[in-house]
Symmetry: C3
Subunit: 199 residues, 3 copies
């Protein structure tokens, strides 16, 4: 189930990378690179910071998943409408999946629950962040809508259920759903946190 | 004293990140993320390159310091005027603190003095660099004013006093002050190195 | 010969970084930083991902090579015309050299040939990618012309000759030449892969 959620998160993030490549009129190599970087970026940073072997060097199927997803998106694109909204939702599902998985892997590596939640946020946010930086777009992560907060809440829910109540399976499910609902409400209602006024 | 200088550098870099978040009208989550990335970015890169455990995974108080600094900056902001000049000075103090600390930690890890000075420059410059890249601003590091040169001089002074004269405490103090003075003169007098003409 | 090709790749990538610094009218410190980041960036990412000691911490001469190259480019620049075309060719030679070297080093570290080819592409592409991101330019890697494809083909040729036919020397030479020809044809004829239409 863990592996399933992980593949699922990788695929949706890869789609989000490919959709940004489409907006920038890239070729299929650009699609593949941006999809792969988005799909594996967060987990790569997490593994480097935790001093673990980088996951996709052992499990090369993640790279294949990202490239196949990118090519499928490239060829199916003509049938897709309203792409920006698809991008936001693909990104939201990946965010929710990776926030709980990141916490889970960090706890397995022996970090404190606090640091594990931070690692979950990084795993969830970093792939989308490099996607946006490479594409020259203002990072979703930093602008206005409820984004990192959703990953934070997913991580806190995971820790409460897994560490405090010892329900690791429910922690994954409820944490994922909680993060997705928060981010989804943010997308639908354009929720945002109070911002500083520029001067 | 080391720990004190390190906390101090983290706080001022976190402030510089929060001030950039303010210029970009971010919400408090954006403030927290940009402050944290700026505050811990340089030390994180240094630890990854040196193969040491990443400092904030063990010492989680650095994350708390960055977030608290970000929130304090967010709520106190309405009383702050002339923010751009505050940003330059907060960045300068962080630069000076992290240039000597980076050299010191690299030497402890067994690198040569030359590589230690490079590590000091990276520790000092990388946090501000990702801050600028994420915010979509031209990096301070690369444009015109004496910036990296100040970190270089702080590192050289540290090595001269600590490695050659065996005065580690004076090395920290004099190196920090030297880097701060050079960068400060650069800010006040708009000093810059000769630049290439664009063609 | 390996070391020679590596120094050669570092020098040409450092030149490409310095030429971008020239276009952005940077001072000699900006030249040095952008040249160094471009010259050592790909190998640094490769070593971090493979869990090897970062090469330039042991072999500090790489840093010296980058800085000397940057300063030479800075002072010789007034005699250089048609700089953009020089930039593309310096970048192409570095790309070809690092794609085969990256594969070779990854195989030595025990990765599978598939992952080694990915590592070769990263080694070849990452230096130029951070160069472009730091300079605020759209990454060459992601836009239109045959770029990553050249590194991919260089890596595949290397693996065929070194792993399948056990000809490591010929693998280096033929892989390098193949990558350079592909990229060179891309530059000369403005070859590009079919791209998605923006909507």
């Amino acid at each position: 189930m863990l592996r399933g959620l992980d593949f699922f998160g990788t695929v949706v993030f890869a789609i989000s990378g490919a959709l940004v490549a489409a907006r920038k009129s890239m070729d299929w190599m650009g699609f593949s690179i941006l999809a792969t970087v988005t799909g594996i970026g967060g987990g790569t940073l997490r593994d480097l910071l935790l001093g673990r072997p980088v996951f996709w060097i052992v499990h090369w199927e993640y790279i294949v998943i990202c490239v196949v997803t990118a090519l499928a998106t490239f060829y199916l694109l003509r049938h897709v409408h309203r792409r920006l909204s698809w991008l936001l939702w693909a990104d939201a599902v990946g965010l929710a999946a990776f926030s709980v998985l990141g916490v889970q892997i960090a706890l397995t590596s022996g970090t404190s629950p606090f640091i594990a939640i931070i690692m979950g946020m990084m795993t969830a946010a970093f792939g989308g962040l490099i996607r946006d930086v490479l594409a020259g777009e203002p990072p979703l992560l930093l602008h206005r809508e409820i984004y990192a907060s959703a990953a934070l809440i997913g991580g806190v829910v995971y820790v409460l259920l897994a560490v405090v109540l010892h329900q690791p399976i429910w922690a994954l499910i409820v944490g994922f759903v909680a993060a997705l609902i928060i981010r989804g409400l943010g997308i639908v209602y354009h929720w945002h946190l109070p911002a500083a006024r520029a001067s």
